[in-house]
Symmetry: C2
Subunit: 212 residues, 2 copies
């Protein structure tokens, strides 16, 4: 993909991080806290701090999230976060994305795929959000994708063995969660999804842009 920075259009597909944002499972303990630094009142500058779970809002997961001893975030290469990608419109899917929902769609070996669902439109992020089920993950692994992003706070739910995460991690697939895809249509983009560099951890918050 060739990008001319003079002519590009940039879409922000990140979720705003704030105290009352949606969090996984709606658990209060997972809501981020943004606080003024106590020094502020004494000084001339305004400073804040944040306390947050690393899976808050738009973020990338690494295999350590699900598989003990597996790769932490710093094992990803920068090139895995700045890459051509293809956004698939799956807004007609109900409950979960299965292999059947993906068959016949434009999905190619080596793609970074973004899955746009009703999660970008409905207020379901803390509950019964649409997810990629284990048959969908297996299908994507058959093709051999490089990464997958979704507009849910997790790429799966309701699968106690976490088969979607575990299958994808087994093939080195980057998992990008918490996207906001309402304003972007199916098609090819340059993805820039840059997670904060926090070595040794299993996830990191990211700002994600699509460029066309």
């Amino acid at each position: 993909m060739i990008i001319d920075t003079e002519k590009m259009k940039v879409y922000d597909i990140s979720m705003p991080v704030k105290n009352d944002m949606p969090v996984y499972g709606g658990k209060e303990g997972k809501r981020p806290r943004i606080l003024k630094e106590p020094e502020f009142s004494k000084g001339h500058v305004y400073e804040s701090r944040i306390e947050m779970n690393l899976h808050t809002g738009t973020h990338v997961d690494s295999p350590l999230h699900m598989i003990p001893g597996e790769a932490p975030m710093e094992k990803y290469k920068p090139e895995q976060f700045i890459t051509g990608c293809y956004l698939i419109d799956l807004t007609d899917v109900i409950e979960k994305i299965t292999a059947d929902d993906l068959k016949g769609r434009r999905i190619r070996k080596g793609d970074f795929l973004l899955l746009k669902t009703q999660n970008s439109f409905k207020d379901i992020l803390e509950g019964a959000f649409i997810y990629l089920d284990k048959t969908g993950a297996a299908y994507l692994n058959e093709i051999g994708i490089a990464g997958v992003g979704i507009d849910a706070l997790g790429i799966e739910r309701a699968q106690p063995e976490h088969e979607t995460h575990i299958q994808l991690f087994g093939k080195g697939v980057v998992i990008l969660e918490g996207l906001r895809l309402r304003d972007v249509e199916e098609g090819e983009y340059l993805l820039c999804a840059a997670p904060v560099l926090i070595p040794g951890t299993e996830a990191a918050p990211a700002r994600a842009f699509l460029i066309r």
Copy 2:
């Protein structure tokens, strides 16, 4: 600038965020804390949380940092973070970057400039780091730059009225701090410096890449 994603090389110019990293002024209260979520021991997944000042490591400042009532982070446009940039080698500069150090260098209206100094080589980030002084900031404002990045945790120190920040903010210049520039040479790049989207705040941690 035209980027071909098949042929690009990506440099990570971000500072790793960890408990014992350098922080502004070496203040213990500013060190980030990375903690395992207590739920970890009970569940099947590994999760962490972080507590950090928003000016930790590689980060972007907005005018609210220094000027009450001025723009918080969300006022920046995505295009300000994905932009051509020019890195200037100032590794011969001692103590501070003045207007005299910048005169005669390749600096053009509308540039996003990155200032590479001895900060990328010496262990001085918590103390007497090299900074952009108020005469240097005034000179850059005369030319009219779009952004400036530096390999220090602050773009200035030892100026009680914060004239460098305040002058640059007055002209809408993006300020990017905490870069690691040891491995990149003077020249043109595409900069992708994506701060986490935390509305209402005066700064945000970012992952920064240079692409050539």
